[in-house]
Symmetry: C2
Subunit: 164 residues, 2 copies
Amino acid sequence: MNAMPRIDRTTLNQLEQTLHHEIPLSRAMGIQVVRLDAQGLALSAPLAANINHKHTAFGGSLATLATLAGWGLLHLLLHGHPPATIVIQDSHARYRRPVTDDFTAICALPESEALTTFLQTLIRRGMARIDLTASIPVGGRPAVEFAGRFVAFDSTRAPAIGPA
Amino acid sequence: MNAMPRIDRTTLNQLEQTLHHEIPLSRAMGIQVVRLDAQGLALSAPLAANINHKHTAFGGSLATLATLAGWGLLHLLLHGHPPATIVIQDSHARYRRPVTDDFTAICALPESEALTTFLQTLIRRGMARIDLTASIPVGGRPAVEFAGRFVAFDSTRAPAIGPA
């Protein structure tokens, strides 16, 4: 069973503003927060701002959108309880086929058990890790498969280390 | 032994223009082509355009710079013989410590033998794969370690597939 938080559109808009404000590259990429549902958190980006020499989506943009879908999902799941800094520790991206249009990365909700362990560890130790997966589908099949390990630090307790 | 091509500054400037022209995100990131030497190809980016919520370099930017260092190195090594389209197939990034200033990704030259096999395969089969590694050092130690598998397609023979 997956954890399905209740998040309204205002909160999704706030996440989009947070991304654009704190990570200017997300604005340059034209990233939008689309929805959070049982499939996970969906972020989109237009092809035009993220195009490459083959007139398809640039690999760096694809991996970045997936990274931010993971970061955004944790941001929403934590929702400031405790106030946490979230960083990425490790990521793997597999590019399976070209993305020829505007694209959407969907980061899947973690299993309830994994999320509970993550939250309990964060509260108890001030730091916790969680593995998330995201994909960028094209025509119903994954064009990009992404796996990321994220770390959250309770920002009332410890200085954060690491990127992103 | 590593393959060390003879590349002048004009060619490096052309690579920078190619990146900025064909991948607009590289311009938004402020990417510059710094040098090609025995260490490999070095690309730099300013912190300001690539900052995150912790005022360090955003993970997406770090992985993207490393990806482009790999792409750029292959672009220089092939140098149009044969005319090839280069894409990334798989990438792994490990974020070890924060990057708190302007940063440089260095993609190492492949071993001569691996490069020879890659070029021979590309000429013979019209397509070849090669694994490259890049790092983003901070204070002499790698802050980011990156490994990417790239594929080149002889563009006179086959349509290219895959991102980046």
